[in-house]
Symmetry: C2
Subunit: 339 residues, 2 copies
């Protein structure tokens, strides 16, 4: 029997909202390659779908990272098991997480790739390595604490607060003693922000006037805004910032699935008079501090102070549909697909 | 003979570009008032015209500071001499600088006003107190060093670089060992940036493609941008930022004389991928460090490392016309009017 390498390829570059027709399924007979020194062969098992992958589907040059080549496999963070190794740090049988391709078998060069290849600690499920202890959580942790710099007692607002990054960002702020308001789409998600995550309030951007609600909830203004969404939600928060507010820009989901980028504040003088700081960031700049961050996240998790919701789909064939759900609110937690 | 108090009043709120018809001259017989404890009576002598005053002419609510009331005197930074005093820190004969009204006689309450009332050091000309050692220079000093945070060897760009704030900001960066590029309007101003201020290069936004020139001059990107202007110049710099760039937003002159505010960056994902920090500021937040800053500025001045150009007009009647020159590039240095 021939072993197959299943793949999902970028069939064409989406215009505006991505659709299933932008993806193409492909399978090829698989022959294990000869590994070079330092390389490992990984059988991918779990794929993480994140909104930012939409950016990598654009033509080269629009985003900082290399875009996916036409006809090439989709790339995204995934986890798998090492099935052949010429790297002593990654023996056969260990788990790894890294930016990988949407295919069954991937060769990685952990010592020389630009993006980190992480060994999954023994005993940790691959789903947790991609989920509650994954790159999204680290992004949330560093973005909130190092970029937002909230102080205990301050009012913190998080957009995309029901998502895999936002939900962790909100809990990090709550855990250090801030008052936290989450913005999410739909009554169910909003109820969960308050009941499951213990946030102080939630705003449903689909049915509420975000600016008016922020005015009610934050009469003294917003001290820190962790922004995953951008666009109108950024404008609504800018209407309600406190003096010396800090805005940590994690992503701009409002714009990913569009031909138009998400613009910044409408009136830059607001930044001057209110002395607002707006700062973009990526997790990689803080990677050297990841071990300490993971320890803190694990402590909070063990203490029951870090809830994390996974929307786990079964089957490699589910990948494009699962990814597209991110842009319609069709997911219910961090979206993972078991291949 | 009756003593007169001459005044310039806000006749109406400008729509878009301000004109002379927005100002109204007025004079009233002046009787020295009874001063309360702590108050001083000042004979104003020199008025500083700054673009930001245009914002105070708008309707209340659009800017952070109180707007000028219709029919009330224009306000702006000015300097004068104390002619009656019930405040021991400000004896008769000493010079003061503060936000004052465009009129001959002003009562100040130095201990209780929100904006600082500064005593002019003995022996310092009022023109220097408003000019090279004035609030604009302190704004430039703190904005560049505390908000821009340039490191020696980095590439720094300053817009409005021929102006009273920009020219100091550019020299501060040059003095600490940065490579500095100034943006200004017109060949004369640009030549002066290089020849008189010793900047490394200048860009004439009136005749050159700012983005293309920045690309040539900063192939490794702009590390720090000190922005007085905003609008298209901000966009041009955003096209050319280096990773981890810092943008210190001092003002947005491009928008002051308009009904439209100056918007922020066109694509907030650029902030994320390039990890850019954009921060607005006002000088008041650093006022407690002003003495040390002034000492540094005086040292540089004495060493010949802080050039400062004053465009001095004579006559109280010149005030509105001088102010309006700021928006047409009709001034040649920091604009002061001797009343």
């Amino acid at each position: 029997m021939t072993t197959l390498n299943r793949r999902w390829l970028l069939a064409r570059r989406p215009r505006g909202r991505a659709t299933v027709d932008d993806f193409r399924y492909d399978e090829q007979p698989f022959t294990p390659p000869d590994l070079a020194d330092g390389q490992v062969l990984v059988r991918t098992r779990v794929f993480s779908c994140a909104p930012t992958m939409r950016n990598w589907m654009n033509e080269p040059g629009r985003s900082y990272r290399a875009s996916i080549g036409l006809g090439e496999p989709i790339i995204g963070v995934a986890a798998g098991v090492v099935i052949a190794s010429r790297n002593p740090r990654f023996p056969v049988g260990c788990g790894v997480s890294a930016v990988m391709r949407w295919e069954d078998y991937t060769v990685l060069s952990p010592d020389t790739t630009a993006t980190p290849v992480l060994r999954v600690p023994d005993g940790m499920a691959l789903e947790d390595a991609l989920g509650v202890f994954g790159l999204n959580s680290l992004t949330a942790y560093f973005g909130m604490l190092r970029v937002g710099e909230p102080k205990p007692g301050e009012t913190v607002v998080v957009s995309g607060a029901a998502g895999s990054t936002g939900s962790v960002a909100a809990q990090v702020a709550r855990n250090i003693g801030c008052r936290v308001i989450g913005i999410a789409g739909g009554a169910t998600k909003c109820a969960r922000l308050v009941e499951d995550l213990g946030l102080d309030a939630a705003i449903d951007y689909k049915s509420e006037d975000v600016s008016a609600r922020l005015k009610e909830l934050c009469p003294d203004g917003v001290n820190v805004f962790y922004d995953n969404v951008g666009g109108d939600i950024l404008h609504a928060v800018m209407d309600n910032v406190a003096v010396h507010a800090r805005i940590a820009v994690c992503g701009q989901v409002a714009a990913y699935d569009s031909d138009q980028p998400a613009p910044g504040p409408r009136d830059m003088m607001k930044l001057v008079y209110w002395r607002v700081r707006i700062q973009g960031f990526v997790m990689g700049d803080y990677a050297h501090d990841a071990p300490a961050a993971l320890e803190q996240l694990r402590t909070w998790r063990d203490e029951g102070r870090l809830a994390y919701r996974i929307d786990l789909r079964e089957g490699f064939d589910q990948l494009p549909g699962a990814f597209l759900d991110l842009f319609t609110g069709g997911n219910d937690g961090a979206l993972l697909v078991r291949g």
